[in-house]
């Protein structure tokens, strides 16, 4: 029996751990017929900000790392966080894996054994009052969490502000910012939705990508049965499972918020959406220009995404 420490970055009682990460860990244990004993470790064993370090140093054997928090100079791997894409996380997670398989993602990821990807529920613009046109966004202070959403908000005429997560609730409550780029996950679990009930659903602001990473030595030291159990889940299966879970969470979170009156969708007509799309085009164009093989990465991602999205 080989013992593997899985750093989840999630508390042991969280929905994500109970219904997704823990399920996978348990499946590895059963399907390996006792060759593996994967044990989940919640923070502070590893937190979002040190996950990559913990896995590469072999403190954790496996970990789930948010690419934003690795600090790595990634470019291509941030494709899913571009604005204006769809909101199907199953399709996006599998598309990320396909990009990886084709060798289109950044080589920095090769420091670990990549087991799969998960894109989180897509960001939308959430605000205190409805935002239906670009004029509503003019000069509005919007909390953002990454470079792509910061660029998108700036391109749309808003003022992107970055505020640490543990101060975000109070900052929104007191009016330091008037809106935030976020998803229903934070809306429900951290109750941001009670402060920001209005959502503009027409435009998505990208999906945060997580990588399921395994320490290279830990993988190499597995016996054949252990490797086989890990490999059986590796790639499309793991990515599809995790991405589909995110879709399920979104559906149930949206239902809960709608019922509580904390998810009020703002209107936007075709003409207005076209103005928004034109405004964010330069953000995407700039990303393609700055990214090695940028056009190919973007096109391949969209093609893979649409294939799976269309099949659902």
């Amino acid at each position: 029996e080989q013992h593997l420490r899985l750093a989840t970055g999630q508390s042991s009682e969280s929905l994500l751990q109970k219904e997704a990460y823990g399920v996978w860990a348990e499946a590895l244990n059963t399907e390996s017929n006792g060759a593996l004993r994967v044990e989940s470790f919640p923070p502070p064993f590893a937190t979002a900000s040190n996950m990559w370090d913990r896995v590469t140093a072999g403190v954790a054997d496996m970990g789930i790392a948010s690419l934003n928090n690795t600090g790595l100079p990634l470019k291509a791997a941030f494709v899913a966080s571009l604005p204006g894409l769809g909101r199907n996380t199953e399709a996006a997670s599998v598309a990320m894996w396909k990009l990886y398989e084709k060798g289109l993602l950044d080589v920095a990821l090769d420091e670990v054994e990549v087991l799969g990807f998960q894109t989180a529920i897509a960001f939308t613009l959430n605000s205190k009052t409805p935002i239906t046109k670009l004029e509503d966004l003019k000069g509005l202070r919007v909390r953002v969490a990454d470079a792509n959403s910061a660029n998108a908000i700036a391109a749309l005429g808003g003022a992107p502000v970055s505020i640490a997560f543990n101060e975000a609730y109070q900052a929104i409550d007191r009016g330091v910012v008037d809106a935030a780029v976020g998803n229903v996950n934070t809306g429900v679990i951290y109750r941001f939705a009670e402060l920001l009930p209005h959502e503009q659903p027409a435009m998505a602001f990208g999906m945060t990508t997580f990588v399921f990473a395994m320490n290279k030595d830990a993988y190499a030291n597995l016996d054949d049965a252990g490797k086989a159990a890990i490999d059986a889940w590796r790639g499309e299966r793991l990515s599809r499972f995790m991405g589909a879970k995110q879709n399920d969470f979104r559906t149930s979170f949206e239902a809960r918020l709608t019922e509580a009156g904390q998810l009020i969708r703002a209107e936007m007509d075709e003409a207005e959406l076209a103005r928004w799309s034109v405004a964010i085009d330069p953000v995407v164009a700039q990303w393609i220009k700055d990214t090695p093989k940028g056009q190919e990465v973007y096109d391949t991602f969209l093609a893979e995404y649409n294939t799976i999205d269309g099949a659902n």
């Binding site: 370090d53 928090n69 970055s162």
Partner: protein
């Protein structure tokens, strides 16, 4: 010799000889270099505060066009600035140890123990230097960058690594000087202590390296034994930061291996330096220092004295009031102790308050930093347990006022029982109230700006710390206090306290990692869940375990490790998670003032270095009793917590 040199002053120096003079000279030279570097670091911090103020007040609030990613200064320049001040704290002997068994060892024994402790600290620093250099190298190799502005991180990490490197000779000189004084022939002490420790350490390290099987199969026993080792070191006068780091590093070495021990050490150190939660501490230290230099603190306490004059212990009462006011600004109890302590302690001393009453009021008043919203402990709980931060904040308000009331009552009872603890009251003098009130206006205005800014949503609590430092600096400048070295004195005091508290927390964080990977705390909490008790018995037992954990772990660490599991247990008995969240915040805040391991007590010691730890320990006890009474009330009557959020 520096004025802060407490330890050396306690024993008569050995006969001067050429070697001792050379060591002392080396100590002084390195101390001077370290102080120059530290001053640069402190000025850099003030620069960060100025940039923050400009961005927040001018760019964001006035023009709605904030500097994008400006908060990334806190990931880059600010950690480097903090690292720059660390070495000077060591040269100034700003190192925390717990003096519990002094009489047992006698002066000669203490000299030996302190020399050994100083050498262990050198070894700890060796580990830290190595670990931090590896972090810097890996940042260089990976090309890591910040999230939004994409600024390369390696230059800052190398500054941090170089700053840690400077700590090594600084502490080496401290240890050499202590060892050379042990015996009439200077080299005897040096040889015995240095060679002895080198042998002992290498033996211990290779022994622990081979313990991996024992740690894997008997994890809880091993964790328990390490707690014991930690306590032995603490009782033997090993500096707390070194005792924590050494114990935890040995544990990680046994459980994970040498390269992992180095990695965790480096990673936790880096993580602490970039942590926003603690970044407020140096700012609030500066704000307090400037307020003292400019006379603002004297003014505000003179006003408080006039207001509370009929009561014996009036200044202690106003310390609690001031802590409550400050606690409504910041989410941190150490920041509250840092600010209120540096201001209130000298004032109370001057007016004849007993050391223990002053210490008790300041250290326990500091818990209001967490008990009144905003509160980082509540945020951590809300994040882990997935509860509304807003509901939790509402629920905390009545318990916070209960705390203030009970602390007031505690002070009034103390001065009734021991009238010598505080000067006697005098009838109100309304002319005095008016003149002191007028003189306190700038201080009140400063408070108004900082408090109003947060309340009106102009800036966040973290940003307020930097803005507060800038406003206090401006008042000092306007009052002409920058002349005559006042500014540099504030900078020196800030760096001294910052160094002490950061080294301590580095140790606490490595310890936290180790215990989180052993599952010790979860096992204790889980055991209670399996005992088949009544609901209230479970709650009481959990609270007892938390207070016990507070003897070895930092409050925030306890919260992070156990919040979700203990909430699961009490929720199964039908208790409201919001109520439990408030109870947990209250319990872990008792932990920060209970001896011997209490962060608030250490912070107080670092801003008031002359205070005796024993007086601090004695002083907080009545307040701990008041806290336990409060806890009993919250458990017996959950409505105290749940009434206000229920109104919404």
């Amino acid at each position: 010799m520096t004025q802060a040199d407490i330890h050396l002053a306690q024993h008569t120096p050995a006969e001067p000889c050429r070697a001792r003079r050379a060591i002392a000279r080396g100590d002084e030279v390195i101390g001077q270099i370290a102080r120059r570097v530290a001053t640069f670091g402190a000025v850099l911090m003030l620069g960060v505060a100025l940039i923050t103020t400009f961005d927040v007040m001018i760019m964001r609030w006035l023009f709605d066009s904030p500097i994008a990613g400006s908060n990334e200064i806190f990931q880059t320049i600010f950690p480097a600035a903090i690292a720059l001040v660390l070495a000077s704290g060591l040269s100034d002997r700003a190192v925390l140890e717990i003096d519990l068994l002094g009489p047992l060892f006698g002066p000669a024994g203490l000299k030996w123990l302190r020399a050994i402790g100083a050498v262990l600290f050198v070894a700890t620093l060796g580990l830290l230097v190595w670990a931090v250099w590896k972090q810097a190298l890996s940042s260089w190799n990976r090309g890591t960058i910040t999230t939004i502005l994409k600024v390369p991180l390696w230059p800052f990490y190398f500054v941090i690594a170089a700053s840690f490197l400077l700590c090594l000779p600084a502490q080496l000189m401290v240890a050499l000087r202590a060892a050379a004084d042990l015996h009439s022939r200077w080299w005897v002490g040096v040889l015995v202590v240095f060679c002895g420790m080198a042998l002992a350490l290498s033996a211990t390290i290779s022994w622990f390296g081979g313990l991996s099987d024992f740690f894997m199969t008997h994890t809880l026993t091993a964790a328990g034994l390490l707690v014991l080792l930690l306590w032995v070191m603490i009782l033997l006068y090993v500096p707390l930061a070194a005792a924590l780091s050494v114990t935890a590093a040995l544990g990680i070495l046994a459980m994970f291996g040498p390269s992992q021990a180095i990695n965790v050490t480096g990673n936790e150190t880096k993580g602490l330096l970039v942590s926003l939660d603690l970044a407020v501490v140096p700012f609030f230290l500066m704000m307090g220092g400037f307020a003292i230099q400019s006379g603002m603190s004297k003014d505000i306490f003179a006003f408080a004295q006039a207001l509370f004059s009929p009561f014996r212990g009036g200044l202690a009462l106003s310390t609690i009031g001031g802590s409550a006011g400050f606690g409504a600004l910041t989410g941190s109890s150490v920041a509250t102790v840092a600010t209120i302590g540096s201001v209130a302690y000298p004032e109370m001393q001057k007016r004849g308050y007993s050391e223990s009453l002053a210490a008790g009021a300041i250290a326990s008043g500091g818990t209001l930093g967490q008990l009144l919203p905003p509160s980082t402990a509540a945020v951590v709980f809300a994040l882990l347990v997935e509860q509304s931060i807003g509901a939790l904040y509402m629920a905390m308000i009545i318990p916070a006022f209960l705390t203030i009331t009970l602390y007031f009552a505690t002070i009034l009872i103390i001065v009734r029982i021991r009238p010598g603890a505080a000067p006697k009251g005098e009838p109100w003098d309304f002319a005095m109230i008016r003149t002191t009130g007028l003189r306190a206006l700038p201080a009140i205005a400063m408070f108004g700006i900082v408090f109003g800014g947060i309340f009106l949503g102009i800036f966040t609590a973290t940003e307020a710390a930097g803005i507060g430092a800038v406003v206090a600096y401006a008042v000092l400048a306007l009052r002409g206090g920058l002349k005559g070295g006042g500014f540099w004195q504030v900078m020196a005091e800030t760096t001294r306290s910052t160094s002490m508290i950061y080294f301590l927390i580095i140790g606490a964080l490595i310890t936290t990692f180790f215990f989180s990977s052993t599952g010790l705390s979860e096992a204790m909490v889980g055991l209670i869940g399996s005992l088949n008790l009544e609901g209230w018995q479970v709650v009481v037992l959990l609270c007892i375990v938390y207070v016990a954990l507070g003897f070895v772990l930092d409050s925030m660490a306890i919260m992070m490790i156990t919040a979700s599991i203990s909430t699961g247990i009490v929720a199964a008995y039908g208790y409201d998670p919001v109520w439990w969240g408030v109870v947990m915040v209250v319990v872990v805040e008792i932990g920060v003032i209970t001896p011997p391991f209490g962060l608030n007590l250490f912070m107080l010691k670092s801003v008031a270095p002359k205070i005796r730890m024993n007086a601090v320990y004695a002083g907080v006890m009545p307040f701990v009793i008041a806290d336990i009474l409060k806890l009993a009330l919250l458990i017996a009557f959950p409505v105290i917590v749940l009434w206000l959020p229920g109104m919404l």
